[in-house]
Symmetry: C2
Subunit: 380 residues, 2 copies
Amino acid sequence: MTTHGEPGSVGVVATSTVRLFSDSDPLVLVSGATLGPVDVAYETYGTLNADRSNAVFICHALTGDAHAAGFHEGATRPGWWDNLIGPGKPLDTDRFFVISANLLGGCQGTTGPSSENPETGTAYGLDFPLLEVADFVTVHRALLAHLGIDRLLAVVGGSLGGMQALQWSLDHPDELAHAVVVASSSRLTAQNIAFSAVARRAIMADRQFKNGQYAAEGTSPAVGLSIARMMAHITYLSEDAFTEKFGRAPQFETSRRGFGIDFAVESYLDHQGTAFLERFDALSYLYLTRVMDYFDPFSNAGALDRVREHPVRYLVLSFDTDWRFSTEHSLRIVRHLESNRLPVTFRELKSAYGHDSFLLADPAYHATLKAYFDRALEDA
Amino acid sequence: MTTHGEPGSVGVVATSTVRLFSDSDPLVLVSGATLGPVDVAYETYGTLNADRSNAVFICHALTGDAHAAGFHEGATRPGWWDNLIGPGKPLDTDRFFVISANLLGGCQGTTGPSSENPETGTAYGLDFPLLEVADFVTVHRALLAHLGIDRLLAVVGGSLGGMQALQWSLDHPDELAHAVVVASSSRLTAQNIAFSAVARRAIMADRQFKNGQYAAEGTSPAVGLSIARMMAHITYLSEDAFTEKFGRAPQFETSRRGFGIDFAVESYLDHQGTAFLERFDALSYLYLTRVMDYFDPFSNAGALDRVREHPVRYLVLSFDTDWRFSTEHSLRIVRHLESNRLPVTFRELKSAYGHDSFLLADPAYHATLKAYFDRALEDA
């Protein structure tokens, strides 16, 4: 049953944690606010080569974590992007050194709003400062400095991760050669914001949210967080994928009609909403979705000035059935980059599975990534 | 300011209520369950002609009510389909006699799950029987009997109302000449069910829901119901309509970033969620959405047998940006009807506004309806 050690797996891995900023030497955010201490959880796969030219940084999406590949000790399920990262896979760990870290504001080892506020001894809650995508980049650059890496071959991310890859390329283009931006956006639409607004409302209006101090109060906004997750899952799949997976199939052959789980699709959503509670935090959900709402790098005059001087090469990918961040979102990114004469490869991939496709092992998608990474290494 | 009495308005109207079934002579539902007493709230506009051949029945959608046109005494806003119904309008009340009634299971005067259960003296709550679209038809036919009308010129409805129009035509084709089915469906997709499932979860998981006995307990599942409404509103508008109406506009020019209402679209959703609480009931939301989930008339062998013997004429309309019930839903209805050699006129209308378009006064849409109703009256 276990696939530990099989070809293609990086095998057993562990998450490390490092303190990158302290109370006395805090992280300075884009907003001017400071934060310390800041711990960062990360994993690495493969080996850094002698001239340190094979490092690829993985940026996770909204609810991801540092555990992108391989197996934690005793686990039967691998990291969230294990189909991409490993020996012989598109991000071939026999050749690339891959780094993955949990986001600032997250809840999987990196400091976030449910971490202890040193001033109060309880969770920051809503006293945690608001973040921007550029703050994620600042923290991850500090991690790279800690690892002794001053230049990346590539930054790769899907969805919110793609936003980080894009921001990184604009702010520090001299520190990376390639940015791979998958199923992402440079600017949310009103509909995108609307879905996140309802999710946040569900969390914050849950009486157990306690203005963000639920841990100290011994409560949990589990209802709100699970509603948020269930709703988000509807947007992660295409309508056709829902039809193909579930159709109108009943969950039980002999069920009595009612208001429980009558249809298979209801069971799926219920499971997604419940399972999420074990691994994610309501405050992180608020903070990270708000970061996405405000992300709009091209609205800043001069956003592309630096990258025009140190051109990064871009791979921008979208999926034809993704209605959360449709191809139009990717094309907007492409237009901004191309109008600044930056080298961009764009491809819209066919997939039945909507936004979630960026996590799946679609052959054409993975072939595209493999060819791109191979070429990047050759050109390095 | 007031438009009372202006050309095009039916003027001041009032909702009537009639008891159509009693405890001793109850309503028998499709499920076999019985219900009594059953009161029905309704309004009429225009005058029934001498040969009783000009009656048109309006079927409202999920959250509609009997008040389709004109103004309640002292009100400044007219009924929900006032742009369609009135002197000189497509449903010209100088020529048609229009009847509109609140649905069984509703909360605007017709008996529903928050009505008093005569056996307990408190609200039925979840003891209210599950309903089917055919049950709505049964109740409305009883209303017509009460009004002395044994045949309708047309039954007209949008969304859930279109489902009722379709069901009526299949079950009692000898009692109507035309069925007008707008922005509707004969069978929800898994995605459609998913949205409703999350809405119901928000309501039922609200600790104030109290297993449906919130009225007796003095609580209100207001948080859950407003979340349900906010989410539904996202599906009622097209993505382009959201962009056109709100874009990324901030709600306040000088607001501090946070987790409140930062964007105009958040203010819109907040308003929709809050205003809904004043006019709608959480139990009705559960019951009526579940009716839609299970609606699937063509899955019954013989569903079309009666209408083949007494052909009804159909007008089926969809809107190109409606992603709740896309044109594909309407085409499925059309295919079923046409394959049974029934006379169907189908049109996909252009509109920027998505599902909500069926409530709006789009010129091409209203011209289509006007021409259809004029012809129906001529042919009567």
